[in-house]
């Protein structure tokens, strides 16, 4: 490639990065505006909106509610996903491809449709809309990611590790908890954090399956429909900072553990 195309491509990259980051930066900035309505220019500044977020009991409750849903649905997705990955790795059997395909399907079903399918199914089963319905739909949606990540990691575990443990007197269950699980830890942390972020950020499933209590994205959505205000900016900014910190932490710790285990 010529030097010109290289420069051009680097320009495209930075323009794209700007396109991604600038709106978020401006959004954070707007949370400091000392006025009720959103818009530029910002003439006077205040911290009140941010303080308000932490004082608002509804926001704090919703934050806790979303976190709880994220943790529980992630826990389910991790158990199910790891189970499926362990079942499908290193075995050839009739119907394996079908099970794998069906397992991965929820990742590509359009969001609205899966939300509506769950809504109808929950009604048929008699599950009230609310926390458990949301948790279940999030878990189903997140299992494919866990399966993919865990299967990738599992395929690099030498067969001899499990065999050596069996040889020394371990039954398959002990092998899983003492050999396989420690090896999978980095993958499970990574997949788990990714699932938590997906669940915490999910709108469409939480919206269609929610009861009276909104999750955080649903709350922001409701506030947005009644008008933009710096309050929403402050809430969004808090969410943004938390998710970014969690994401970066997960990425780093995953790398560290992986390096340690692979040395």
């Amino acid at each position: 490639m010529t030097r010109h195309t290289r420069i051009l491509m680097s320009c495209i990259y930075w323009a794209f990065a700007l396109y991604l980051l600038l709106p978020l930066a401006l959004m954070m900035l707007m949370g400091f505006k000392d006025a009720r309505f959103i818009g530029f220019p910002i003439t006077s500044w205040t911290l009140d909106w941010y303080i308000g977020v932490f004082a608002d009991r509804q926001v704090m409750f919703t934050f806790g509610y979303s976190t709880l849903i994220a943790i529980l649905s992630t826990a389910i997705a991790l158990v199910v996903g790891t189970w499926i990955a362990v079942t499908l790795t290193g075995r050839a059997f009739f119907g394996r491809a079908v099970i794998l395909g069906l397992t991965l399907l929820p990742a590509v079903i359009p969001g609205v449709i899966s939300a509506i399918a769950f809504r109808i199914y929950a009604r048929v089963l008699g599950i009230e809309p609310g926390m458990w319905a949301i948790i279940w739909s999030h878990a189903v949606h997140n299992v494919p990611f866990v399966v993919l990540v865990v299967m990738a990691r599992l395929s690099t575990l030498p067969r001899s590790q499990a065999e050596a443990a069996r040889d020394l007197g371990a039954d398959p269950l002990v092998v899983f908890f003492r050999i396989t699980m420690p090896y999978l830890t980095p993958a499970m942390i990574g997949a788990g954090v990714f699932c938590m972020l997906l669940s915490f950020d999910d709108f469409v499933r939480s919206y269609f399956l929610g009861g009276y209590d909104p999750t955080l994205p649903v709350l922001i959505f409701a506030k947005l429909r009644s008008g933009m205000s710096p309050e929403v900016n402050a809430i969004s900014t808090v969410v943004l900072v938390l998710t970014a910190v969690l994401g970066i932490w997960a990425e780093r710790s995953m790398r560290r553990i992986k390096k340690q285990a692979n040395r």
């Binding site: 001899s160 443990a165 040889d167 020394l168 007197g169 040395r263």
Partner: protein, 358 residues
Amino acid sequence: MTQRTDPVARIEGVTKSFGKTIALHQMNLQIASGEFVTFLGPSGCGKSTTLRILGGFETPDTGRIILNGQDVTALPPNRRKVNMVFQDYALFPHMTTRRNIAFGLELKGLSRRAIDARIDELAAFLQLADYLDRRPDQLSGGQRQRVALARALAPDPEMLLLDEPLGALDAKLRTQVQIELKNIQRRTNKAFFFVTHDQEEALTMSDRIVVMNQGRIEQDGTPEELYFRPASRFVAEFIGETNLLEATFRGIEGDAAVIDWLGNPLRCNPAGQGFAPGAAVTASVRPERIAVSADRPATENAVEARIVTSIFKGSRYLLELAVNGTRVSAYADSPVAADQGASVWLGWSRSSISLIGD
């Protein structure tokens, strides 16, 4: 020395196939306690499959495995009192040496104190005391190999299975470890079941070698038997270097069997199997058993040959010779006889020839 008493393990009529390939064909074998048995053969000959069947990682299609008088054919690896040293050692990367060795002991239901005592014993035995708190990635290849050995020996197995455990070591370390391993085996007085494709390794360490080829046992005997009395062409070629002489059987003359090789009558020890006069036979003669001299030697068998090339090998010379146009190799201690094209005499005793029926 090894005492040969009741067999520790018996393989009875074991057959194993993977899909259409037959890995083992009606295998029968006994292993005595305290014996160092090596399974030798090219890759894919079924030696590793035998090992894995003994360990419980594969189930035979037919036949039985008896360990100490008990039929264990259907038992999974965790319920067999045999332990294995894996080719890649399979040390658990997230555990220290101490935890690795303790793994099998914990599952045996031992107390913490008993486990620590046993680890100390093993550490003293295999000189591991300094590495007990290191992880596998902080150990050298030789140290890892000793940890794997300690881990497998810790639960006091009736027999130890070793799957090419020296393959990962460099050549220099390897010779040293071979001798060490033989010593360890002698002092634990356990049956070691060793798998390798390296014939030199097999000759160095074993009490007994089982040569395998294409799922069948070619020969089963002491290193000396295999080396000097190969039962088949395959064994003769696989173990060490040899000259295979295509000859015709003439008959028995007195206490010797006489064969005809390129017009030269050769006298050898009569083989067990009777050959009919005129039958084609192959005679194996090891190069180092052939004496090269300028004059006709006084040995029973003497053949005239011409030197083709002479290669300096450090301690001696490897000679490539031609007898009536057929290639033969032999060794000479001094370069005196090693002029190219010179005519020399080759001589060997009758015990240096072994007859192989084709």
